[in-house]
C-alpha cells in the first residue's frame, strides 16, 4: 500500500461538464496536497469550482482527468459510500423523516454499529457540538444554527479522515456565523480531523484556515497560509479578491537582485518595489499593488516625509475623506488620474480630521509593502 504523509492529494484534476452549449470546465488542472489535521480553505468567487472540487473528493462526481488520493489510496472507482470522508452540506441535507438522533445514527448503522452503541455515540456527538438533549426532535423543529450543528455532529460521529464542508455557515446570520467560526475552529483543533472548507468569504478563510487555496474559473491560483496570501499575492486576481488593494499601472524598467524591481508608474514617478514571487519578467507593463493600510499620509511640511532607501514618498492631493469608526478612509489623487485609497487608524479622535479635502500631501510606503504583478 503506497503511503504518503498527505491526507488528500489532488493530482492534475480536470472536471468538464457537458451542459447544453458545449463543455464547461469546472475544475482546470488542479494539483494540491493537504496535510493530515490541516484546516484547508477553498476560497473563490461564485462558480469558480469550489463545490465541484469538494464533490470530486467526496465521490459524487468523477474527474474527467487526474487522480485523487486519500490517505495515499487512489480513489478511482471507489464510490462515495466507501470513501473515508464525510460532508457537511451547505443546506445541511438532514433527513426530514428521521429524528435528530436517527439522523446521527444513520451513518453508524451503515457501518454495522449496533443500536445501543450507536445511540451512545450519537449522544456524545451532540454534546461535542454543544447541542445535547435534542435527539428526539425532527430537524424542522430546530433553528438554522442548530440544524447546522446536527449536520456537523452527523458527519463527525463517523470519525472520517477528512471532513468536507461546503459553505457550512453560509445560511447563518452574521453574528451566529462569527460565533460558529470560532467554535468550528476550536472543534477542529480538538478532534484533529482534516477540514476542507469551502467558502467565498475571504475574511472567514483568513481567520479560520491554516492554508488557503484561492480559485478562479476552475484554476487554483495560489495556495498558502493566510499571511502569505494576504501579504504576497502572486496575481492580480488574488490581490484583488483578498482584502482591499490599490493597483497602480506602471512599466518595469529594471530587475534588481533580491526580488526588487525599478518601476516607472503611470504618473511618471520611478519607484523601487518588491516583486511578487511569481513574477519573472525584467521589463514590460506591470501593476504595482499596495494595501490601503500600508500607505502613510503626512503634511508637506512634515519632516518625516522624506524618501529614504526603504521608503517611497509621492505627492498627492486629498480628494475624499470617509470616517468609518475605527479607521478613516482617504482617497488620494496622484498625477495622471491615479487614485489610491489609504486607511489610517483613528488612534485619537482628532486623527479623523487632521487633513482637509484638497490639501496637498505626501504619501509614503515601505518598499517591502508593494507587490509587482503581471498586469
Amino acid at each position: 500500500m503506497p503511503m504518503s504523509s498527505y491526507d488528500v492529494e489532488l493530482i492534475d484534476i480536470v472536471k468538464d461538464f457537458d451542459s447544453g452549449g458545449g463543455p464547461v470546465r469546472a475544475v482546470d488542472h488542479v494539483s494540491v496536497e493537504i496535510e493530515d489535521g490541516e484546516f484547508f480553505a477553498l476560497l473563490g468567487p461564485s462558480g469558480c469550482g469550489k463545490t465541484t472540487t469538494l464533490r470530486l473528493i467526496a465521490g459524487f462526481e468523477q474527474p474527467s482527468a487526474g487522480r485523487i488520493l486519500i490517505r495515499g489510496l487512489a480513489m478511482e472507482g471507489i464510490p462515495a459510500y466507501h470513501r473515508p470522508v464525510n460532508t457537511v452540506f451547505q443546506d445541511y441535507a438532514l433527513f426530514p423523516h428521521l429524528t435528530v438522533e436517527q439522523n446521527i445514527m444513520f451513518g453508524l448503522q451503515m457501518e454495522g454499529v449496533d443500536k445501543k452503541a450507536a445511540r451512545k455515540r450519537a449522544e456524545e456527538s451532540l454534546e461535542l457540538v454543544r447541542l445535547p438533549g435534542v435527539g428526539a426532535r425532527k430537524p424542522h423543529q430546530l433553528s438554522g444554527g442548530q440544524q447546522q450543528r446536527v449536520a456537523l455532529a452527523r458527519a463527525l460521529v463517523k470519525q472520517p479522515a477528512v471532513l468536507l464542508l461546503d459553505e457550512p455557515l453560509g445560511a447563518l446570520d452574521l453574528k451566529l456565523r462569527k460565533n460558529m467560526q470560532y467554535e468550528l475552529k476550536a472543534l477542529q483543533r480538538d478532534v484533529g480531523i482534516t477540514f476542507i472548507y469551502v467558502t467565498h468569504d475571504q475574511e472567514e478563510a483568513i481567520t479560520m484556515a491554516d492554508r488557503i487555496a484561492v480559485m478562479n474559473e476552475g484554476v487554483m491560483l495560489q495556495v498558502g497560509s493566510p499571511r502569505e496570501i494576504y501579504e504576497h499575492p502572486e496575481s492580480h486576481f488574488v490581490a484583488d479578491f483578498i482584502g482591499e488593494t490599490n493597483f497602480i499601472p506602471g512599466r518595469m524598467l529594471e530587475r534588481y537582485p533580491g526580488g526588487y524591481g525599478k518601476v516607472k508608474l503611470a504618473n511618471g514617478s520611478i519607484i523601487r518595489a518588491q516583486l511578487s514571487e511569481a513574477f519573472s519578467r525584467a521589463d514590460g507593463p506591470v501593476t504595482v499593488a499596495i494595501r490601503p493600510e500600508r500607505i502613510g499620509i503626512a503634511a508637506l511640511d512634515d519632516r518625516a516625509s522624506e524618501e529614504d532607501g526603504e521608503v517611497t514618498a509621492l505627492d498627492a492631493v486629498l480628494a475624499e475623506r470617509q470616517y468609518i469608526g475605527t479607521d478613516t478612509r482617504y482617497t488620494l489623487r496622484l498625477q495622471a488620474g491615479i487614485e489610491l485609497v489609504a486607511r489610517l487608524q483613528n488612534i485619537n479622535e482628532a486623527d479623523s480630521h487632521e487633513f482637509s479635502i484638497g490639501q496637498p500631501l505626501k504619501i509614503r510606503w515601505r518598499q517591502s509593502s508593494t507587490t509587482v504583478l503581471d498586469r
Binding site: 467526496a58 444513520f106 451503515m110
Partner: protein, 299 residues
C-alpha cells in the same frame, strides 16, 4: 359650454358605472352558473336516490328503500334486480382495481424514479409520452386496446392454435396502461420536491444505492406513492369505457353492470348505486389529495 361638458362627462361616467356594474354582476354570476351545471345533475341523482316515488317527475317523500332493494334482492316492477349479480360485479371491480393498482403503482413509481434521476437519451420524448393516456380520448384508448388484444390473440392463435379470450387479464392490462401515467405523474411531483442532496447525504454516510433507496428515498416519496395508488384505484373502479371494450363474458365490473341496467330503464336503484359509487370515489380521491398535501407540506 362648461356645463355641457360636465353633463357629457357625467353621462359617460354613468354609462361606465353601469357597464362596470354589469361586468361585476356577470363575474359574480359566472361561478354560480359554473357550479350549477357542475353539481345540479349530481344533486338530482342523489336526491332521487332517496325519492319515494318511482318516477323522477316529482319528489314525493324520503325513503331508503332503493338502497335496501339493492342489498335485499327485491324485485323491481319491470324486471328482476339481482343483488347477487351486482355484488359479483362489485367484487370484480375491487379485484380488477386492486391488481391493476398494485401493478401500476410499482411500474409507475419505477418510471417516475427513472425520469427524475436517470440520464438517458430520449428522456424528453418519453416524458411527453407518459402524459399521453391522460390527454387522449378514452374512447380512442379503449378501441386501440381492444384492437391490440384482438391482434395479439389472433397471432397467438395462429402460432399455437390456442384461442385466448378477453377476461380479467385484458381488463387489468388495460387499466394498468392508463393508471401507470397517473401514478408516475403523482410520484414524480413528489420526487421533484425532494432534495436530491438527501440521497447524496445518505451515500456520504455510507449507504449504498439499495440502502439509500429504502431508508431515504422511499420513505420520503411514500405519501406520493400512496396518493398515486389511491388515485389509480379510484380511476379503475370508475372506469367504464375502456373496461367495456376489453371485458369478456362474466367479467363485468360495477360500472358496466350499471350500464346494463340503464339499457332497460332508469330505475331508482341505479340512482342509489351511483350515489354509493360517487361517495366511495370521493372518499378515495379525498384521501389521495390529503396524502399529496401532507407530502408537500412536509417537504
Amino acid at each position: 359650454m362648461e356645463a355641457r361638458q360636465t353633463l357629457i362627462n357625467e353621462s359617460a361616467m354613468g354609462r361606465n358605472r353601469a357597464i362596470r356594474q354589469a361586468g361585476r354582476m356577470g363575474l359574480w354570476l359566472n361561478p354560480v352558473f359554473a357550479y350549477f351545471f357542475l353539481w345540479a345533475p349530481i344533486l338530482i341523482l342523489v336526491l332521487f336516490s332517496f325519492n319515494d316515488s318511482k318516477s323522477v317527475a316529482s319528489f314525493t317523500g324520503f325513503t331508503l328503500k332503493w338502497y335496501s332493494n339493492i342489498l335485499n334482492n327485491v324485485m323491481g316492477a319491470e324486471r328482476a334486480f339481482s343483488t347477487e349479480i351486482m355484488l359479483n360485479a362489485f367484487r370484480n371491480s375491487l379485484f380488477v382495481g386492486a391488481v391493476a393498482t398494485a401493478i401500476a403503482t410499482a411500474l409507475g413509481t419505477l418510471i417516475a424514479l427513472a425520469m427524475a434521476r436517470g440520464r438517458f437519451p430520449g428522456k424528453g420524448l418519453l416524458d411527453g409520452l407518459l402524459f399521453l393516456p391522460v390527454v387522449i380520448p378514452e374512447i380512442t384508448q379503449a378501441i386501440s386496446l381492444a384492437i391490440f388484444f384482438k391482434v395479439v390473440f389472433d397471432w397467438f392463435d395462429l402460432i399455437s392454435g390456442q384461442r385466448i379470450f378477453p377476461g380479467f387479464h385484458t381488463i387489468i392490462m388495460a387499466h394498468v396502461t392508463f393508471n401507470i401515467s397517473y401514478v408516475a405523474i403523482v410520484v414524480r411531483a413528489r420526487l421533484a420536491d425532494m432534495d436530491p442532496q438527501l440521497e447524496e447525504a445518505a451515500n456520504d454516510l455510507g449507504a449504498n444505492p439499495w440502502q439509500t433507496f429504502w431508508r431515504v428515498t422511499f420513505p420520503l416519496i411514500l405519501p406520493g406513492v400512496i396518493a398515486g395508488a389511491l388515485l389509480a384505484f379510484t380511476l379503475s373502479l370508475d372506469d367504464f369505457v375502456i373496461t367495456f371494450f376489453t371485458s369478456g363474458v362474466g367479467t363485468s365490473t360495477l360500472p358496466v353492470f350499471v350500464y346494463g341496467l340503464l339499457k332497460l330503464t332508469v330505475t331508482p336503484e341505479v340512482n342509489a348505486i351511483s350515489t354509493i359509487m360517487m361517495l366511495l370515489s370521493t372518499l378515495l380521491i379525498g384521501i389521495s389529495l390529503a396524502m399529496q398535501g401532507r407530502a408537500a407540506s412536509r417537504a
